[in-house]
């Protein structure tokens, strides 16, 4: 049993070995130890989705996980979406549709949308809404966000 533990994980394609406190959340470790501050902290009770990252293909709330739980897993954060320094199709689509207002929820929205489109490349409006239901937007840009996801799906299928 331990109070700290060295975990091995792949974050945004790069494998890392990190020593973490066992009582730190994944969100804390990503932001404070790995310096990936794109993942946002907001409600910290699993309601808002600002902290969403993709772990082994599924979107999860990093505020609800201990960092030790990603030992052996593959993690993608919003910083992992760009391709060779360029925005990917989904990110560009968010820009085109003006989906970001204050922008705080956007990293989480992007991660949920990424996971959704991976499983379902051609979603309906309802499926986008359901897929992103765990991501709240205080600016209430839901229409634009939904549009952006649908436009990205179309673009990716061209």
């Amino acid at each position: 049993m331990n109070e700290t533990l060295t975990i091995n994980t792949t974050i945004n394609g790069r494998s890392r070995s990190i020593e973490v406190e066992v009582n730190h959340t994944l969100l804390d470790v990503l932001r404070d130890e790995v310096d990936l501050t794109g993942t946002k902290e907001c409600c910290v009770v699993g309601e808002c989705g600002a902290c969403t990252v993709i772990i082994d293909g599924r979107p999860m709330n990093s505020c609800l996980m201990l960092a030790v739980e990603i030992d052996g897993s593959e993690v993608t954060t919003v910083e992992g979406l760009e391709i060779h320094g360029e925005l990917n199709v989904l990110q560009a689509s968010f820009l085109d549709e003006s989906a970001a207002q204050c922008g705080f929820c956007i990293p989480g929205q992007l991660m949920s949308a990424t996971a959704l489109l991976h499983d379902n490349p051609d979603p309906t409006v309802e499926q986008v809404q359901e897929g992103l239901a765990g991501n709240l937007c205080r600016c209430a840009g839901y229409e634009q966000i939904t549009k952006a996801v649908l436009a990205a799906a179309k673009e990716a299928m061209r």
């Binding site: 066992v22 989705g49 772990i55 979107p59 609800l64 201990l66 359901e130």
Partner: protein, 288 residues
Amino acid sequence: MNRFQYARPETVAEAVALLEEYGDDARLLAGGTDLVIELRNRWVEPKVVIDLKHIPELTPSITVRDDVLSISASTVMTDIAEDELVQRHFPALVEAAVVVGSVQIRARATLAGNICNGSPAADTSPPLLVYDAVVVIAGPEGTRRTPVDDFIVGPGKTSLGRGELVTAVELPIPQRPFGAAYTRLTRRRGTDLASITLCCGVDTDGHTRLAYGSVGPRAFLEIDDTGTLADPSVSIEEKVAPLDQLFHRASPSPKSLRASPDYRLAMLRVLGARALETALGRLTKEQV
């Protein structure tokens, strides 16, 4: 969070030994969607957190043996919702699994955790009661099995004793046509804690099983053997009275912010009638 030790047992026996040693100072970690909140708010301050996800026999799996479907302890809601066997035999459980939290929560929350937390509003309790699920428990004396109806005790309470943990939930595959449906009442569409959770199951021998939660200290199971409710030729108007009787244990709290007691009681009837109709429809389909 307080400082605690993190344990990662590799066998059920090791986990049981830790639980025995630490008792109330130990907390089990499966999905963590409830535990991490409790830790952060210091509602619990354990000496040790025992992560169950490295025990091979508890890793996510849904298997069938001798007409019993077994769902291991760290199987998450997304696994359950996507599983073809569960979809085929236990559609009402799928209906409950897909409304738990959000996509992110369902990727993490386990079925075992859902019933172990003992929330009266747990979505999966009513279908597990209707499908007559059995909870498999490992403990110092070995393995025991208990019907989910005996396992669920009250808010935050289960029949787990010291040193015990849930290793799986088993559902007997109905051997005769059985139709079931799950429904719930929320304040808004989408992610919300339910004000009513309700599941109804009917068979061709006139048995109706109805379970409802979020309107009392725990989810209750009622069985009607009169045949009236399960008879598709009896009108829904004639079923109102017998259906009402099944809700005699409902005692919604006036303190809840989600819905008033009167509203919940009124809606129980509506949801009960709806779920019964859907269950009967599915039963008819099963027979053709």
